[in-house]
């Protein structure tokens, strides 16, 4: 605002071309920020997506890996008739509803705990990142070791107190619990990391002022921490949502979608159909459906996030 006014005082003295030049320069300087990301993604993202859409309406010639022959909505109809596809959507829904809130709550809660000021705070914070770095294949395998009814420590410990053995991977319901557990183990540290940065950036003087005013912890939490953290909470949720909706490697390594199809999340299903059954046309159709679903839900969440931001 101030800047524009400053500029307009000069305007009269300057020739028109310079004004235009300034306009262009300003325009460019504004767009400098958006351009690299936009160009990079246009090159790497737009073509693959268009290609996928094209395949989803064609038959894929496996001899050349090019779409051949327009088949209309055939691939989509095949997919929609497939009860495994619907099952995969349902399973993904259950997983998201269980895992996301759990990870958000745990992540911010633990961030609060480990940010208590003491000597080893930095070390604890750094150690907490480790689960995120363990490759999904290794993580899935280690958890399988821990949870196995025969060889696992968890069932061994349960046995000591007279419970179990629990078949964590063999029972359809428990397998989902296990999947959520492993996913939460791997991704809570991610939420914690972002939450830590956000907590560190909170202005301490506001809290101190509130304390002097005699506010109790609930009021501080509700009236200061939450509103200040809301943009970060919303952003973290959306990032986590976009990550979780694409999750497939943890399911692949932990349960491989089993038993039966009990934990076959949509991206694992699409991956298997595409790269193992080599049904690229049908899986492209699935990918497009999932893309649209995710876009719609993400748009709703974005709107919600904006509302929340505006509210506070």
């Amino acid at each position: 605002m101030t800047r524009t006014r400053a500029m307009s005082t000069d305007e009269a003295a300057r020739p028109k071309t310079s004004r235009m030049w300034l306009g262009i320069k300003d325009f460019l300087s504004r767009w400098t920020f958006m351009t690299p990301a936009a160009l990079l993604l246009l090159a790497t993202l737009a073509y693959p997506i268009l290609y996928t859409i094209q395949i989803s309406f064609s038959e894929l010639d496996l001899g050349s890996f090019t779409p051949s022959g327009f088949v209309g909505w055939d691939n989509y109809l095949t997919v929609l008739e497939d009860d495994r596809f619907w099952n995969a959507l349902r399973v993904t829904g259950i997983y998201l509803v269980l895992a996301l809130p759990l990870q958000m709550a745990l992540g911010f809660g633990i961030a609060y705990l480990i940010n208590a000021e003491w000597r080893w705070r930095g070390v604890v914070r750094a150690l907490f990142i480790i689960p995120m770095v363990v490759a999904p294949v290794v993580a899935g395998g280690v958890w399988r070791m821990l949870l196995d009814p025969l060889w696992g420590v968890v069932n061994y410990l349960l046995g000591l107190i007279g419970a179990g053995p629990v078949d964590w991977l063999g029972d359809p319901v428990l397998a989902m619990v296990t999947l959520v557990l492993v996913d939460t183990w791997r991704w809570t540290p991610f939420v914690t990391l972002i939450a830590t940065a956000a907590l560190l950036a909170l202005p301490q003087d506001v809290f101190e002022a509130a304390e002097i005013d005699g506010a109790n912890w609930w009021i501080k939490f509700k009236s200061i921490a939450i509103p200040l953290l809301m943009p970060v909470i919303a952003a973290t949720f959306i990032v986590r949502w976009l990550g979780a909706v694409k999750m497939f490697d943890i399911a692949l390594a932990t349960t491989n979608g089993g038993p039966g199809h009990a934990t076959s999340v949509i991206n694992l299903f699409i991956y298997e159909e595409a790269f193992r059954s080599l049904k690229f046309a049908e899986s492209s159709a699935m990918a497009v459906i999932v893309l649209i679903l995710t876009m719609a839900l993400t748009a709703i969440f974005l709107r919600g996030a904006k509302k929340l931001e505006d509210m506070y």
Binding site: S29, A135, V138, A274, F275
Partner: protein
């Protein structure tokens, strides 16, 4: 109670609540680290000691997996590839992504919000649907199995994340900061580099860490886009786990897992100091 006692608190004197908080943090940390502990433990076992009933804490440790198997699986070369690709992708996306995030948060641009939303929404594509077309393009351009291909592929999911996270960090900064800088003669870009970036160091660094980590462990694109020259550690791990001839070698798997964890832990411990420093800088300037 807590409120009453905490009003009296000054630096260096902590109430019980504070110790409870520390204890809670340590316990949570222990829970989350137990599987990692088990992974490290397993990496020192002979394959036949890994699956015993009951599970054993005491065994004759061996470093055989580290000395023999690791070199067989080309681990050092793949580790180097992973470092190159993860750092390359992380740095490229933190630059492009934080600029885009800043544009969304501060610069008034017609259409930018739409582009930003589109970038974010595009993340819903199942990765396998992107990987195969990418391979076809890379093959046509003759850059299949190159580091740059993987770096660009990783940007597709890193840039949106960085952009979105940094947008919220930038939003939480008071706008007067760069406005005053620009009044002092800085260009918008100059103000961004000189004022905004230093203040946002904690956010930038934590975002960079997680970008590198996400690229570090990525499997699908690496599997599809690389064969030999640029293969990364996750591909090696998938190979060990999917050994259809002798069975998964869990000793080797956990050993490679342990090795991949170490550099990131060291990195995180180093950056830890920066995170705090960045915050301190921000506090004094803000």
């Amino acid at each position: 109670m807590t409120a009453a006692s905490s009003t009296a608190v000054r630096r260096g004197k902590f109430p019980t609540g504070h110790y409870l908080r520390i204890a809670g943090g340590v316990i949570a940390c222990a829970f989350f680290l137990f599987p990692v502990f088990w992974m490290v433990l397993t990496s020192f076992k002979m394959p036949r000691d890994i699956f015993t009933t009951p599970p054993t804490l005491f065994f004759t440790p061996t470093i055989e997996t580290y000395t023999s198997y690791i070199w067989h699986a080309d681990v050092p070369r793949r580790m180097l590839n992973t470092v190159i690709v993860a750092c390359g992708a992380g740095l490229l996306s933190i630059v492009a992504g934080s600029m885009a995030g800043y544009a969304l948060a501060r610069v008034k641009l017609r259409g930018a919000a739409t582009i930003g939303a589109l970038i974010l929404l595009s993340r819903g594509v199942p990765p396998i649907a992107l990987a195969v077309p990418m391979f076809l393009v890379a093959r046509r351009l003759g850059i299949a199995d190159q580091h740059i291909t993987l770096i660009l592929a990783y940007c597709t999911f890193l840039i949106p994340y960085v952009m979105w996270l940094m947008r919220s960090f930038f939003k939480s900064l008071p706008p007067e900061l760069e406005e005053s800088a620009m009044l002092d003669g800085c260009t918008r870009f100059g103000a961004f580099v000189r004022i905004i970036v230093p203040i946002s160091m904690p956010g930038l660094l934590s975002t960079l860490i997680f970008s590198i980590i996400l690229a570090w462990e990525e499997l699908l694109f690496a599997l599809v886009l690389t064969n030999r020259f640029a293969t990364t550690i996750p591909v090696a791990i998938a190979g060990i786990a999917g050994d259809s001839v002798n069975g998964a070698n869990w000793g080797a798997l956990t050993a490679v897992g342990t090795l991949t964890v170490i550099p990131v832990v060291i990195f995180a411990l180093l950056v830890q100091k920066w995170l705090i420093k960045g915050l301190a800088d921000g506090a004094t300037k803000g």
